[in-house]
Amino acid sequence: MTVTPPKKTGTLLKIRLGIIFLLLSGIIVYLSFLFSFALLYALIPLFALYLFISFFYIPRFISSTSVYVSSEGVTVTYGVFIKTEHILPVLRLVFTETTVTPLSRAFGVCSVSFSGVKAKVKTPEILIADAMKITKYIENEKAKGYER
């Protein structure tokens, strides 16, 4: 079973980034009123960085991410500049954990973290239904493993 993050995960990440950008901009504007308006120039690289992450990095990050679950193990792949692949054998997995924030709940997505012996891998937000499917699948595979 291969699961990829939906497009709305990208939108969610962009919203989060937007909030951070607005907060930082607010701080810069406030400080410029206190000290010098020259500080407002800092908004230019900040805005450029926001545009770069928003329109270049996030779409590529989303399309590069995939979670592959089989009876053998879980493989989580992601990365734009540095490609990373985490491979966790199912039998070495200890527990799974789903995390939902108010924003991600509104988008119907959640992240799943796989905790193994000396390992923890967290996926970017995927559809809640997909997360449930993965968790159930791993539960079944582990149960089969215990029986063996």
Binding site: V94, F95, T96, E97, T98, T99, V100, T101, P102, R105, S115, G116, V117, K118, A119, K120, T135, E139, K142, A143, Y146
Partner: protein, 478 residues
């Protein structure tokens, strides 16, 4: 197990929830500070503080109400959080230990601290920690581990005292007792210096060759050791172990009750240890290593406080069959050259002690008796180290088979570690130039989990050991 049982947190758990949000209370204070710096006036801080308090109280109550543990189909589902909601699906088979603790306040409120540990997670940090009703804790343990153990072994007061005495150190006493003495001194309006003066006065009354400072140090050392002993005694009081089916339960504590439950199958290794004090009484302690990262005690649990080795093996071999194994040991070489190798460090230390003591006496003759005392104490330790080094050669050994048994001495403590061959995580074979000449090696075996037991054996015949590892694990050394 097809139950679908729900557990809710005890209301006292709200305290833990509140602790996480305390930082919110700092924000109005910060706002007030900034306001004062900018406008030289403060307004609305109390109102904001009240709003923040109501806010964190509301969040904590909401979080407490939404916290739940559900046991369903051999899984433990733990749901926590309100703004960021987390739901962990933990297979019961993956639980290493469940530690239950309670101080007298929790006892009064009929609540208990529960921490669930697995092999995953961060070392030194409990994986899941919460507070439940006393009755719920028993229900939870029964559901996770099966019925309550029926056979209970209690230990006599002397054995508990022995365990406490051997587990205590003057350093612990200083850490624990120091602040108490300081506070007490302040309360009674006597400073620490006054206490030290009293100790010096008392030591002056003891007649000996050595100066009063030596007696003062000795009295202070015994006093802090006494504090440490009392703390350890309170911790180990009412120590008992219950065994039933596959479940083992260890309880102890006077003011702070601790209960640790685990499955026999979670045990990675059994370790029999003997500290110098125990050696004087010819008794041993036994503890087990469990493959889960816990809190205070890490992964080790003391199973037996004090017993003779014969009683330990006969009494617990049915619970831990690994104790029964009979295998051929590879022992350190016994020739005189090897003996000299074992005694090399104690000899070097002895020369250093003689040299330093003599040098100090020549340089500062007025402190002659003090340096002599220091030298004699160090020499005493070194003599004991020499005795231990000889013991290392005589009693050390390792055996590889379906079970791995390693006997060695670390520091001043003797260890005998029993484990299944598959539970060994790492075997390290080291050879120094003298080992190459003598065709020997030193080997250390560590159990498969972080912070677990590790035993080192020196001057072992290299070829014999290499062949044995190759035969048991099928790994050739290059």
């Amino acid at each position: 197990m097809n139950d679908n049982t729900l557990f809710k947190a005890h209301p006292v758990f709200i305290y833990n929830m509140l602790k996480r949000f305390v930082f919110v209370l700092i924000l109005p204070v910060l706002k007030g500070a900034v306001q004062y710096v900018l406008y030289r006036r403060i307004s609305g801080v109390i109102l904001l503080e009240s709003v923040a308090l109501v806010f964190i109280l509301f969040l904590s109550v909401w979080r407490l109400v939404s916290f739940r543990i559900v046991i369903k189909d051999d899984y433990l589902y733990i749901t926590d959080g309100v703004i960021i909601k987390k739901r962990a699906a933990l297979p019961i088979a993956e639980i290493s230990t469940i530690t239950v603790t309670a101080d007298f306040i929790l006892d009064l409120l009929k609540a208990k601290n529960v921490s669930i540990n697995t092999e995953s997670g961060i070392y030194g940090k409990k994986d899941f920690s919460f507070k439940l009703y006393k009755t719920d804790v028993d229900r939870l343990l029964d559901m996770v581990y099966g019925k309550k153990p029926q056979i209970e072994v209690r230990f006599t007061a002397e054995k508990i005292a022995l365990l406490s005495a051997t587990a205590s150190s003057a350093l612990t006493g200083l850490i624990v007792g120091g602040p108490i003495i300081y506070r007490l001194g302040k309360l009674l309006n006597i400073g620490v210096l006054a206490v030290l003066n009293d100790i010096t006065e008392l030591s002056k009354s003891i007649k000996s060759y050595f100066p009063p400072i030596v007696n003062a140090i000795t009295i202070a050392f015994i006093a802090v050791y006494g504090v440490s002993f009392l703390v350890a005694l309170a911790r180990n009081m009412f120590f008992r172990i219950s065994v039933g089916g596959k479940r083992v339960e260890i309880k102890s504590g006077l003011y702070y009750k601790r209960q640790r439950t685990f499955l026999v199958s979670s045990v990675k290794d059994v370790c029999i240890a003997q500290t110098p004090l125990m050696r004087a009484f010819r008794i041993y302690t036994m503890r087990v290593g469990i493959g889960g990262y816990g809190g205070e005690n890490g992964e080790k649990s003391t199973v037996v406080p004090a017993m003779t080795k014969k009683d330990l093996k006969s009494g617990f071999s049915s619970l831990f069959p690994v104790l029964n194994c009979k295998t051929e040991f590879i022992n350190p070489k016994k020739d005189s050259f090897s003996r000299r190798r074992f005694l090399l460090l104690p000899n070097i230390y002895a020369l250093l002690i003689f040299g330093i003591t003599a040098g100090l006496i020549i340089l500062l003759p007025s402190f002659e008796r003090l340096f002599l005392f220091g030298g004699l104490v160090s020499l005493g330790f070194d003599l004991y180290f020499g005795f231990i080094s000889v013991k290392k050669q005589n009693t050390g050994g390792i055996s590889f088979g379906e079970e791995v048994v390693a006997k060695g001495i670390s520091g001043y403590t003797y260890y005998e570690m029993y484990t299944k061959k598959n539970n060994i995580g790492k075997i390290t074979v080291k050879r120094y130039p003298v080992d190459v000449i003598q065709n020997t090696c030193r080997v250390s075996v560590a159990v498969r989990s972080e912070s677990a037991d590790k035993v080192k054996v020196l001057v072992l015949p290299y070829e014999k050991l290499k062949n044995k590892i190759e035969k048991v694990y099928g790994i050739k050394s290059h």
